[in-house]
């Protein structure tokens, strides 16, 4: 048993965090919903992302990638959440892993790895999973993407960003089919499908963890400096009691993330998916609850567009619903554990 990040992973977390912070600093959330900046990174920023190897991280070497473990990818994604990065790195990672799992040709994946072909995953309209075909689907975290592939291999151009809760990631409808970009994909085996699903759920847990811990850290910082009644508000018990339970949620989510990230690469696919569902169910509830507490601890300023507080809550809600919220996974787990003959 070795539970926790090793020295290389800690160093990787630091370098990802530094780049994410730098990229995030350039993004302006605007003055209000009608003035929000697009979460599409500039050419220069995307080039830095590609150079850092983020789109290539999980792809295997024969596909032009770095062949990183799920734990390594989770380390990156936690930092994306921590800095509420408005650049479609998570969408790229998810779409790339789907294409790789479905046997997309190496030359296409090499372009994705290099950051030259910008793709987004297509989810069904309820955001519960990958869309089998483009009808009614949504391209997820799709700012700047030029193509999205449905599970049937059809390539689609993408429309404008839809109004969305999350201001750091764009959702777009697939449009016209792009025939010459469409791919021959194979039908996944059950194992491929489960492992892909476990991988994606785990990354969402990582994004939730980063988001909720950024929110809690900011709230604690605020509670130390804001004074009322002549004292820092963080000295009041009512404030401490809320913050303490939030730390319990954050640390438990971290334990769940570590276990599910490890499981994706180490356990049989069905067990890995089960672990990921447990982690996603826990993190979905905890992530939104913590971000709501953060609003409370900031008081009035937390309700303003100007503060980052709503950005975390928006991102947490999107992560929560994407690929199933806690209710969805609880229902699946109930069927697995509680049906006669289970």
């Amino acid at each position: 048993m070795q539970i926790g990040l090793d020295a290389d992973q800690r160093a990787f977390a630091r370098s990802c965090g530094a780049l994410a912070a730098d990229l995030a600093a350039g993004w302006d959330r605007g003055r209000g919903p009608r003035d929000v900046a697009s979460p599409e990174p500039s050419e220069k920023d995307w080039a830095r992302i590609a150079e850092a190897g983020w789109p290539a991280l999980r792809l295997r070497e024969e596909n032009g990638g770095l062949g990183a473990s799920t734990v390594d990818v989770a380390v990156l994604v936690e930092q994306l959440g921590r800095h509420a990065l408005a650049a479609p790195v998570l969408g790229t990672l998810v779409a790339a892993e789907q294409l790789q799992a479905l046997g997309a040709p190496a030359d296409t994946l090499e372009e994705v790895a290099a950051g030259e072909l910008r793709i987004a995953p297509l989810l069904d309209g309820r955001l519960l999973g990958f869309a089998p075909a483009a009808g009614g689907a949504l391209a997820w975290d799709a700012a700047g993407a030029t193509l999205a592939f449905a599970a049937d291999g059809s390539a689609h151009a993408l429309g404008d960003a839809l109004p969305a809760a999350d201001v750091t990631r764009a959702m777009r409808r697939p449009g016209a089919r792009v025939d010459d970009a469409s791919l021959e994909l194979r039908a996944p085996t059950d194992d491929d499908r489960d492992r892909l699903h476990a991988f994606v759920l785990t990354l969402l847990v990582a994004d939730l963890l980063g988001t909720m811990s950024a929110g809690l850290d900011a709230a604690v910082e605020h509670a130390r400096s804001r004074t009322q009644f002549g004292k820092p508000i963080g000295s009041f018990q009512a404030v401490q009691q809320i913050a303490a339970e939030d730390l319990v949620s954050v640390e438990a989510t971290r334990s769940a993330l570590y276990s599910s990230a490890w499981a994706v690469d180490a356990l049989p696919a069905a067990e890995a998916l089960r672990a990921a569902r447990v982690a996603k169910a826990f993190a979905s509830r905890a992530g939104v609850a913590v971000c709501e507490d953060v609003v409370q601890l900031f008081g009035g300023i937390g309700m303003t567009w100007e503060s980052p507080v709503h950005v975390w809550l928006r991102r947490a809600h999107t992560d929560r619903l994407s690929f199933g919220d806690e209710h969805h996974h609880q229902a699946v787990l109930a069927d697995l554990d509680l049906s006669a003959g289970a």
Binding site: E245, A252, A334
Partner: protein, 376 residues
């Protein structure tokens, strides 16, 4: 990252599993606290588990432990739960206080009995006037030529009625600031001047008591650590008391959860969609708790266990209280009419947020020591 068993852990787990396969059936019957027979059965179970080498496995082998890393405590819990066995004895806290602070002579004298479960111990901390505000306790141990004379009263002392020894937190330095005036003594419960009066718990269980000390003489060699070190030892001990695996909680909860799931699967406990969903939700939380406990034990520094026990206890509290609430609701009307043991267990779950420091006190510790928020 690797949550899987190392070869050593796997071998240990397999050994425990086969021991349970062979011996559990001869001990599991009748274990509990609600009658003298149940208490006797509990002690028999604990002694058998200890004799087989599965109690306090993370403690020093010289005194009856096995000197294994802390994470083995989680393995013991997991396997007992998986076998639907009664939980291990809740002694990790007392064992650590003595093992980590007492001098070698005292350890050699008392630890084998504690870890071997041949002697029962109780923890004499709380007093009528000092619960959450533990440092305000007033039981006095006055120094004499050859030891101490104790006068005062303890309350809510679990297991005091049948305990052979008491780990007593008392005031030895009345002129020192309150946290610095405390010491920890090992008191033989047969010493003249000790009176125990049973207190029945709300669920009818007879496991705690108030204990009166009237001129009770305690020899100097029964002082744990040094005079004035009591608060530090108590803090150390409480960290372990709050550790879910050190006290056998994860094993116990796993057991209850598995029984509820089996009841629903078999149709014995009819469950509509809402109840199935709630049971699945608490199973999620219980699974996360056990991952968290493993991580926490791997991270824990035995020299300085820190305050993470408070965080872990808060997580345990969430899981335990919701679990028993769901189990109660699964029983439906049977929860309030008929055999009252299940309701008694539910009532017990409400104590998880009280003993070992209340939920409010744990949150205060987490907020101030782990998050660094200022004291009020």
């Amino acid at each position: 990252m690797d949550f899987s068993d190392s070869p050593d852990v796997a071998a240990f787990r397999a050994g425990l599993r086969s021991w349970l396969g062979e011996h559990l059936h001869s001990y599991a019957e009748g274990v509990g606290h609600d009658s003298a027979e149940a208490v006797a059965a509990t002690h028999r179970w604990h002694r058998a588990l200890a004799a087989a080498g599965y109690v306090a496995v993370s403690l020093d082998a010289a005194y009856g432990g096995r000197g294994l890393p802390d994470v083995y405590e989680a393995v013991v819990n997991e396997e007992l739960a998986a076998a639907a066995a009664p939980p291990p004895p809740p002694i990790g806290h007392i064992a650590h206080a003595v093992a980590d602070f007492a001098d070698p002579d005292l350890k050699a004298r008392v630890l084998p009995g504690l870890l071997g479960c041949t002697e029962s111990w109780c923890q004499g901390f709380s007093e009528p006037g000092a619960g959450s505000d533990l440092a305000g306790l007033s039981t006095a141990a006055t120094a004499t030529d050859d030891g101490f004379v104790v006068n005062g009263q303890k309350i809510w002392t679990s297991g005091a009625m049948w305990a052979d020894r008491c780990l007593l937190l008392c005031r030895t330095e009345p002129d020192q600031p309150r946290h610095r005036g405390l010491s920890m003594l090992v008191v033989d419960m047969t010493t003249p001047g000790i009176t125990r009066r049973e207190i029945t718990l709300a669920n009818g269980s007879r496991e705690f008591a108030e204990v009166f000390f009237d001129d009770v003489r305690v020899p100097a060699e029964n002082l744990v650590g040094e005079r004035g070190q009591g608060w530090k030892i108590a803090q150390h001990m409480l960290t372990y008391e709050r550790g879910p695996a050190d006290m056998g909680w994860t094993g116990r909860l796993g057991n209850v959860l598995a029984a509820a799931q089996e009841g629903v699967r078999s149709g014995r406990l009819p469950a509509d969609d809402v109840l199935r969903r709630r049971l699945a939700a608490v199973a999620v939380d219980a699974q996360v708790l056990s991952w968290h406990v493993a991580r926490s034990l791997v991270d824990r520094d035995p020299a300085d266990p820190g305050s993470s026990g408070s965080l872990d206890k808060l997580l345990t509290t969430r899981v335990e209280q919701e679990l028993y609430a769901v189990v109660g609701d699964l029983a439906g009307a049977a929860q309030v009419v008929g055999d009252q043991r299940p309701f008694g267990e539910y009532l017990w779950s409400r104590a998880q947020s009280i003993y070992g420091g209340t939920q409010q006190i744990q949150r205060q510790i987490v907020a101030q020591r782990l998050l660094g928020l200022p004291r009020g």
